[in-house]
Structure formats: C-alpha cells, structure tokens
C-alpha cells in the first residue's frame, strides 16, 4: 500500500555479490556499480588502536598483495559464499552508500541478492543477515543460474528447457530452467579463482617462479585458453625465482596455460555432463536443439565454448556481456518483484 512512499525514500537494489566482483543494479537505473569484492582494512596504532576501512572496490584491489603491515586487503567472499561476515557486511554497506543518493533518511531498500545454488542454509542465512545488517529492509534471495538465465535473455518462463552455465569467480553453477523454476541445479566450487591458482601452481612447478594472484589473473585474461587449435599467444611475466630469490622475467605461451587450466576445466566439463545426465529427457531434447548458454566472467576465457561444444556435442553460446548477466537478470527480477514470487528462493 505504501509502495510509492517506500520507492520515494529508497530505491530497491539487486546485488550480485560475487566472489570476484560485486555489481549493483538500481531499479529504473540499471547497473550503477561494478567493483571488485575487495576490502582494505587499516589497523591504526597508538593507544586507541582500532580497525578502519581504508578502501573498497577497485582501489582496494590495487592494494591486493602489496600492503604494508598495518593494511590488509581482504576478499571477504570465497567460493561464492561469505568467508568474513563482518567485512562483507561493511563492504555491502559501503557499496549501498555509494549508489544511494544522500537523503535525510538513511536508505533502507529492498534488496535482491544472488546466492549460489550449491550454498548451504547457513551460507544463505549469512548472506541474508549481511544484507539486513547493511541496511536492507527486506532481503530476497535468487539463485545465480536463474538470475543468469534471465539476464542472458533466455525464455525462462516457457515450457522449454534452458540450460545455463554460470562460471563465476568462486563457483560454477549449472542450471536447467523451465516454467520459471529450476529443474536441475548443480554447483562446483571451481571458477576464476581456481584458474588463477592453477596458473600460479603451474608456473611454480614448471618454472620455479612465484607469481601473485593478480599476475595470474592477468595471464589468464591475456593468453588464457580452454581449447587448443586457435593461434598461440605468448606473454612476458615477472615473478620471483624461488631458487635464486630474485625477481626474474620469463615468457609463457597460451598452450602452457591451457595445460595449467586442464584440471579445473575438466571439473566444469564434468559438472555440465552430470547436469545433462540428470536432466529429464523432454528438457534434454530442448537443450539439444538450442544448446547451453555460458555466463559469468569465466565465459570470457577464450574458446571455453568450443571446449564444451566438443565435449558435449551440443551448441554452446556465450551470452552477451557475460560479466553482468547475473546482475542484469536479478535487476529484471527486481523490476517485476512485486508480481512474481516463484523465482525467489527461500533459505
């Protein structure tokens, strides 16, 4: 009844609280914030020692791995769920403050938050509580594959099967959707972070060099590839030689990265195959006709669609702007949230 009042005082938000990036969609405005999920915390010395937030988002991400003793740069989300509750809450609060106009009243918006479909009740509760503590008046949870499918423009409400594979920073979610609900959902805790780890480990093992997570991420973005055959790229990388203890530079090729990523990619492929096994045959026929859709930052890995195409024999398409699919999808759910309740999940 007082919806118009509430909409005056607070804009409803949809938050894609990802392991790597947090995106905020504001009703009627679109995506207004896209920042890394990183918080830098400064510990002040002196008699009144306390911890303050130094930076969030891009500024904090630049500090990752380069902080002095009194600053710690934290990624409070891990594997798609909250690893550090207090820091996550502060991060959400800072982001909400950033997107909300300063008004007389502190914002208390209704918030849609995405949760991995493989997350436990406790993890969902933690995400809900963090959003409530950050000032939300009501929190709706939506499963990531559902949001990703909506954002990719799939006909989720139709009586046809749509398969979506959302490869995020911490998790890979596979969902089969029909009639506005999830028929099958699977989740493996493999994502962009695991790719980075795999690259770091590969380089340490084969080159005896130690590189940081940020460098590994850059390598993945530059020359990372999931399928052999396309042109081979090379990149110069600097790291610390473990034997000498001195920074050195070396050159690495995309084929090596392909080898490094082999294991996490296989986990994703097997998750997709399991999903196809578990899908009811009628929906499987639909999926065979139209294929699956890749969303999330992982979909930007070169030739990942070709890998899945060859492994499954099904058409695979990469959604437009895969990084923002989940945020856009939850934003579309936000626009229609008063009319639909079935796409939201309970704890």
């Amino acid at each position: 009844m007082f919806g118009f009042l509430r909409s005056y005082f607070s804009n409803d938000l949809a938050i894609d609280l990802g392991t790597a990036n947090t995106l905020i969609y504001v009703r009627a405005k679109g995506i207004v914030l896209d920042e890394p999920s990183v918080v830098a915390i400064r510990t002040e010395g002196g008699p009144n020692a306390k911890k303050t937030i130094q930076a969030v988002g891009h500024a904090a991400k630049q500090m990752l791995g380069k902080t002095p003793g009194n600053i710690t740069a934290i990624r409070p989300m891990k594997d798609g769920v909250i690893a550090d509750f207090v820091v996550t809450e502060q991060m959400i609060k800072q982001f909400i403050k950033r997107v909300h106009d300063t008004r007389l009243f502190s914002p208390s918006p209704r918030i849609i938050v995405c949760v991995p479909c493989g997350s436990t009740q406790v993890e969902r509760r933690a995400i809900r509580d963090a959003a409530l503590a950050a000032g939300a008046s009501q929190v709706y949870l939506i499963e990531e594959p559902m949001a990703a499918a909506i954002g990719a423009g799939l006909p989720v409400a139709d009586a046809t099967g749509s398969m979506v594979v959302d490869i995020g920073g911490g998790t890979t979610e596979v969902g089969v959707i029909s009639l506005g609900g999830m028929v099958y959902s699977g989740s493996v805790r493999v994502g962009g972070d695991k790719f980075d780890d795999a690259i770091v480990n590969y380089i340490r093992r084969n080159y005896g060099m130690l590189i940081g997570d940020t460098t590994a991420e850059n390598i993945k973005k530059e020359i990372g590839s999931a399928f052999p055959g396309s042109e081979v790229k090379e990149m110069e990388v600097k790291g610390r030689n473990l034997a000498e203890g001195i920074p050195r530079s070396f050159t690495i090729s995309s084929n090596e990265i392909l080898e490094a990523l082999n294991e996490p990619l296989n986990q994703i492929v097997s998750a997709v195959k399991i999903a196809l096994e578990q899908t009811p045959p009628e929906l499987g026929a639909d999926i065979a006709d139209r294929g699956m859709v890749l969303t999330g930052g992982g979909a930007l890995l070169r030739d990942l669609d070709r890998l899945l195409m060859e492994e499954t024999g099904l058409p695979v398409i990469v959604a437009e702007d895969p990084l923002t699919c989940v945020a856009r999808g939850s934003g579309m759910a936000l626009e229609k949230m008063d009319k639909l309740g079935s796409i939201f999940t309970s704890e």
Binding site: G153, V156, R290, G291, L314, I317, K336, K339
Partner: protein, 324 residues
Amino acid sequence: MLDVSAEQAAAVVGVGDMLRTTREHHGLSLVDVAQALKLTQRQVQALEDERFDALPGAAFARGFLRNYARLLGLDPEPLIQSLAQTSGVAAPAELAPISNAQGTLPNGDGALRPSALPMALIAALLMLAVVGGWYFDWFQTTEDPATGAAVADTPVAPAALTPVVPPPDSAPLVIPDDAPTAQVAPTTAPTALEAVAVPSMPGAPAPVVPSAPQSDAATPVAAAVVPVPAPAAPKPEVAAPVEPVKSSRLVFRFSKESWVEVRDASGEIIFSRTNRAGSVQEVSGKPPYRLVVGNAKSVELEYGGKPVDLAPHTNVSVARLTLE
C-alpha cells in the same frame, strides 16, 4: 581476410547473404558449418535465410549468429546490430510462466478450516451481545437492589437523608445542627448513621426499625432544647426556623425512567442519578435547591409535603427549577 572485410562493407544488404557468400568464399558446405557449430543443417540454413523465427529464440539466434561469424572470421558485432534492426528481436522477457487460472489450495488438513468460520461467528455474536447489552442498559438491574442502598452511596451528610418519611415529630432531629448543646450532637449523629446503614440490609421492616430510636433520641433532645429558647425568644420564632427545615425534603415519584440532579445551597450535587420507573426517591439537604429533572412529565415532585407542578418549568421534557 581483406576480401571479407571489403565484402562486409558492401554487404549492408543482408546478414544471411553475407554469411552465405563468406562461407562459400571459405569453401565450406552447410554440413561443415553445422558440424562445427553443433547445430542442425536446418538451423544454419535458417540463419542464412534470415528466418530467425525458425530458431529457438532471440538470445539463441544472436548466439548462433555470433558463433557462425566467428567461425568464418567475421566481426560478429555489426551482424548482431543489423539483426536487431531487421528483425527487432528485443521482446521483453517474461519471468513468470503462463497462467490462466486462479485459486489457492488449502494448506494443512482441511478439517480445521470449516470449523474456524462458526467459531469466528460465535465470537462475533458474543461480542455483539456484550456491546448491545451495554448500549441498552440490560445490566442496570444489578445496580440498585434497594433504593436505600443506592442513596447511601451518594456523598451526602448522613443526617440529611432518611429512608422513610419520618413522622412530623422527628423535626427536632435536625435541630442539633444549629443547636449549641454539645451533648446532643454526639448522641444523634450515631443514630442517624445507623438509620442510614440499617435499611441497606434486606428486609421489609427495615425502615421501621430506625424510626423507633430516632424518636427516642428526638424526644429527650426536644425536651432539652425547648426550655432553652423559651426564655430567649417567643414561640412563633422557634417555629419559624423549624418550618423551612421541615419542608426541605424532596420526594420524587417516577412513573417512567428519568434522570434527576439536585444541588443544595452550596451548589454541590447532592443527588444525581437515573431512576427507574415506579421508584420513589427522597432527598433532603440545605435549601434552596436547584433541580434538573429529565422526562419531567412522568415525575411527581413533593417539596415539604406539598406537590410541586413541574410543567411551568419544563422546556421540551426537562424541567429546571429552583426551590427555596
């Protein structure tokens, strides 16, 4: 590749034509393309013929087009844009499945639901009864079991009220109020109190009981008082103060329900209540009285034993008058 881009620039004509010519340029057949993209030959043909409605949907059409363009080494973005222009495939996504029916199923066991309604009805009826009873004064009977008891509740000097019309010789009862004799006052006060207290007990002869001690007490007092004023003043003067006191008693007889308020000389309310039909109320105090009598037509008033006509003082149905 150079040929392709030149062709691309020229091929504003159609997405499908450009795909077909580029494919033929690369020497690929429809089957090759279908195998590479894991599509059916029919779907590739539909792409080249720009029959996008034969494809599963807008999102898939764009995805297939992008994959096809990448396979052929074309930049997919201009193709996607021209596709959006030609077919206008940007229908807003529907998020809830189609619905052509309404209604909710009972949750839990259905046995409870039918009984819930009568329970609510009974509760509502009880509530109505209570409210109605209060409104129509059904519960008033409990208020006055005897007129005397109710009178005792009113904050009036105990000596001022007597339950029955006393005999004329009880007039000296009031005299102690102005009499200077100290011994008389303590004796009469308790008796008057008793006289008020006793009638509150149930029993018909109750009013008779107090009259005996009253007259007993009164006679010695009268005996004691009479000699005192005799030398001071002549008899008529003694009778004069007695006269107004004697006539200061108000008797109301109600033939219908009526509300009455009486104020004494000090302006204090000495009597105020709603009286039931058929009841008789007596009020005494210090005149002059100011009276407000509701429903005056059905009230008979006696003042000092003489009937008072309320009609001249009545406005509509309420009589307002002052009795001296």
